[in-house]
């Protein structure tokens, strides 16, 4: 029963959070400052997501095979490798090091 409640509250809460961004009145999004913030936010949030998902596990910082995968991705992106090559090479690198 408690488990059902947890599942339902999590579902409802996350749905409300997702919807929050879509009910902001359009005129609030028009100003120059708002535009700058909105354009930068996905970039900074995804950058933070990248670093946390590569260098952390829970509340602990970690340096493992994921870092090598990210390094390979950065190099391949810098030399303008195709998207699929970037993703596959990063995974192969991380998997290879993990298997060692």
């Amino acid at each position: 029963m408690k488990l059902w409640l947890a599942v339902l509250i999590a579902c409802a809460g996350c749905a409300v959070l997702k919807l929050a961004g879509f009910v902001v009145p359009a005129r609030l999004l028009e100003s120059a400052v708002a535009r700058r913030i909105l354009e930068a936010l996905p970039v900074t949030l995804l950058s933070a997501l990248i670093s946390v998902s590569v260098f952390a596990t829970g509340n602990h910082l970690m340096l493992d095979s994921r870092a090598a995968g990210l390094a390979v991705a950065l190099i391949l992106v810098a030399i303008r490798a195709p998207f699929l090559v970037v993703v596959v090479a990063a995974c192969a690198t991380a998997a290879g090091l993990h298997a060692l």
């Binding site: 488990l3 947890a6 599942v7 509250i9 999590a10 579902c11 996350c14 749905a15 997702k18 919807l19 929050a20 961004g21 879509f22 902001v24 359009a26 999004l29 400052v33 535009r35 700058r36 913030i37 909105l38 930068a40 936010l41 996905p42 970039v43 900074t44 949030l45 995804l46 950058s47 933070a48 997501l49 990248i50 670093s51 946390v52 998902s53 590569v54 260098f55 952390a56 829970g58 509340n59 602990h60 910082l61 095979s65 994921r66 995968g69 990210l70 390979v72 991705a73 950065l74 998207f83 970037v86 993703v87 090479a89 990063a90 995974c91 192969a92 690198t93 998997a95 290879g96 993990h98």
Partner: protein, 235 residues
């Protein structure tokens, strides 16, 4: 009305087709890269004693990998329901922030905004933002949302029914598929030194806070602080 010159017409048609192909391929790549996590999520959830209906409900309705994993992992590890739900919600906050950007970019109206909100996640936002300069943000958003939604839900069911046949995403290296894809998608937006510094700063601030704040908070702290810094620099 004058006809456009023949070769120019062909050129725009060709570049449109190329964009469509690029978006389709990237959406599929991202979709397939989430499947090991879906399998893993299904398996972990069953181990945490969630029923099949509960597992499927999470993937169908909550539909946000990080929040779902946090919820079932904490329950499975014997943590409190309060911290499980709290962490899931904290991880869900960034979807709301993405939503504001997607709303400004695509301007959905009526029922569309509900559907759009439901599938506004890291992957669909990254693709939409990446394709915004080419004018294909809507196609990129919907293609990615569809691929990830279908494959995430299918893999969740399989994972819940048969367990995780692939082993943990770490052994296949697929734990870096997301980060690698996001690096590739963000790169075109990081052409100025200032934006690179801001992105790097965001990542570093997030990492510094990892040991001291609850799971889920570092991403928000890094992302919001970096935007604040950007505004300060710009003044």
């Amino acid at each position: 009305m004058s006809e456009p010159p023949h070769d120019e017409h062909q050129l725009t048609d060709g570049s449109r087709k190329a964009a469509e192909r690029r978006i389709r391929n990237r959406a599929l790549t991202i979709g397939f890269s989430v499947t090991p996590f879906g399998l893993s999520f299904g398996a972990v959830s069953v181990e945490a004693h969630l029923s099949l209906v509960q597992v499927c409900l999470l993937s169908l309705v909550l539909f946000s990998g990080a929040s779902q994993f946090a919820l079932v992992s904490i329950i499975g590890a014997g943590g409190s329901y309060f911290s499980a739900v709290g962490t899931a919600l904290l991880l869900g906050v960034r979807n709301g922030l993405y939503g504001a950007r997607i709303n400004a970019l695509l301007r959905p109206s009526g029922w569309r905004r509900f559907v759009m909100a439901a599938v506004t996640i890291d992957e669909s936002t990254a693709m939409a933002v990446s394709e915004a300069p080419s004018g294909n943000a809507a196609r990129a958003f919907w293609s990615t949302a569809l691929c990830v939604y279908v494959l995430w839900n299918v893999s969740t069911v399989i994972g819940a029914l048969v367990g995780n046949a692939l082993g943990s995403p770490a052994t296949t290296g697929l734990d870096v598929a997301g980060p690698a894809a996001f690096v590739a998608l963000l790169a075109p937006r990081l052409t100025t030194l200032r934006m690179r510094m801001v992105a790097l700063g965001s990542g570093l601030i997030a990492l510094v806070t990892v040991p001291v704040v609850p799971v889920g908070a570092p991403i928000l702290i890094g992302g919001l602080t970096a935007v604040a810094l950007l505004l300060v620099f710009d003044r």
